[in-house]
Symmetry: C2
Subunit: 370 residues, 2 copies
Amino acid sequence: MATDLNPSPRLLLGPGPSAVHPRVLRAMSTPLIGYLDPEWLGLMDEEQSLLREVFMTKNTLTLPLSGTGSTGMEAALCNFLEPGDRVIVGCNGFFSERMCEMAARYGATVTRIEKPWGEVFAPDEIEDALATGGPTKMAALVHAETSTGALQPLEGIAHIVHRYGALLMVDCVTSLGGTPLKIDEWGVDVAYSGSQKCLGCPPGLAPFTASDRAREVLLARKSKVPNWYLDLTLIEKYWSKDRAYHHTPSTTLHYGFREGLRLVLEEGLEARWRRHRENAEYLWKKLEELDLSFHVTTKNRLPPLTTVVAPGGADEAAVRARLRDEFNVEIAGGFGPLKGRIWRVGLMGFSSRRENIALLAEALREILGR
Amino acid sequence: MATDLNPSPRLLLGPGPSAVHPRVLRAMSTPLIGYLDPEWLGLMDEEQSLLREVFMTKNTLTLPLSGTGSTGMEAALCNFLEPGDRVIVGCNGFFSERMCEMAARYGATVTRIEKPWGEVFAPDEIEDALATGGPTKMAALVHAETSTGALQPLEGIAHIVHRYGALLMVDCVTSLGGTPLKIDEWGVDVAYSGSQKCLGCPPGLAPFTASDRAREVLLARKSKVPNWYLDLTLIEKYWSKDRAYHHTPSTTLHYGFREGLRLVLEEGLEARWRRHRENAEYLWKKLEELDLSFHVTTKNRLPPLTTVVAPGGADEAAVRARLRDEFNVEIAGGFGPLKGRIWRVGLMGFSSRRENIALLAEALREILGR
């Protein structure tokens, strides 16, 4: 028989999940109510309205999907693309590769534009792709690449994408609630995130929003959405006045998520972005004092997730294991071409605190013998 | 700004979610650890092994999927069916209709065999369908139909299905942990459930199991699984020694689910099934004393979910509203052809307790004036 649950008290400074705020943990211990209870429906309305504020959008179709960030990505592709539709994907990290893989499975024609992992795209590079190769249904970018630590600037891009009659789709898994993201002002059509990063909640929900322009594309589909669970035409019926049953929402995750959104708005978006940036800058300064350097140029560096070049001579995996085993601190290694070459340090949500950085710096100083 | 979370203390006697056991709620307030932490990987192994015991299976491919019961259904179809494959679906309720809808979206050829809502299939009726109309890839049945309250007998069916070279797929959302279900002994190839019914956990995970025979079908696919998030060839890599990242699991839901499985095995499967049956029989007796009758014949009645004929003259929705508003008790109405005609009373997991039934009976007596 398995024993009582008793995990070590890890400090989560990796790419997510981040530390969950104690108020969120407490909210999740609340006994459940039914998924058609009038009180529950009221909570859903509140949750949607909080989420719109956090996304800085008025989009009707704004809701948390019942799955991790990957369901957000899959919903963003399978609902708005039909077989043969062309999607341009900015490929500069692990998650844009995933977009290509998913889009291909749905029969879309994928046009890749490429950059080395850690770099970002300029607006004219996106325009070049749009201007050649026929009509485009969607252009897709990763705003905050968790695998590389790069922040893709988004201002001015929607204008170009819309000129070519396409939708702008953006992965905001590691940006929402941690760095400026202005869905309506920037003209983003489809965006998704994850609950477990800068929002400080457990994994399991994918905040999602789609513009009226995107919703028209959805409603004009010639074929049914091939993925039933993520079919937004069905899901929005439960999240609107119809309240038509689709699937049973995870009451507990929503309790926690609503509390997480309340915490974001109590702090204020601007203040929260500032906290994430100031703590990131403190981390960068502390690591520079240890003669460590960064994979991404300062200008494109993502405050919630810093990629640190693993110093020559150190066994990067052994350093991470000692951080975990001796100090209960989790940071992560790299993926794909960055495997063995970088550390990924996340300062997201409740994990983004000055004291955590001081501890990490001191532990690294000791382990690296600097 | 939304207020503090403070839902009314509902007694959940509907079709799910059921009341979550207090130990499960407590487990979920545990701070998180990372999804590649050795301690987490150990918890995953334990969870799988507990789940195998509860499913009564030795199947390697046994794990909880990151979504509600509907993801279990979708995974059971999209992984084992390819376009043009024939699936026979026993249609006798809401959830078998959903199977047909999903299978069609994946390009399968759906052969429906039909029964009125509340009845079940005899083995020879399934054999008749297998014997005509060409080769069959899968036969799909709902073991415990939450929309009708009928329990489909499963013994002896796999033998027939296998004789025709097909897989037997079974929806066990409302049976697992509440009524006998013996995956290996009965020869079931693919089965899924939900965490929020007889297992007494919150919604958000879909316990899933597939036999080696089914796994061979999966590995012999000519095409990629079209649904990326539910692609078992990728998911099993994370749940096996590879530990290859697919998506971030919901730590918190798994903490709770593991505790829920421990509670099932502490009680013992046989004892738990007996509790569910004895409490259902107590409910039936109490409701008969109120001159109420049942939609499903005694022989096929599902202990965890009883469908009660709404008495003539009573406004069934108004009765439910009074139960909720005056007694904090939730029961549900009917779907589709049973809308307005039945009540659905769930006695699942931690909700299946004698005192809950006594309260419901007394509240109904008062409201119905009997």
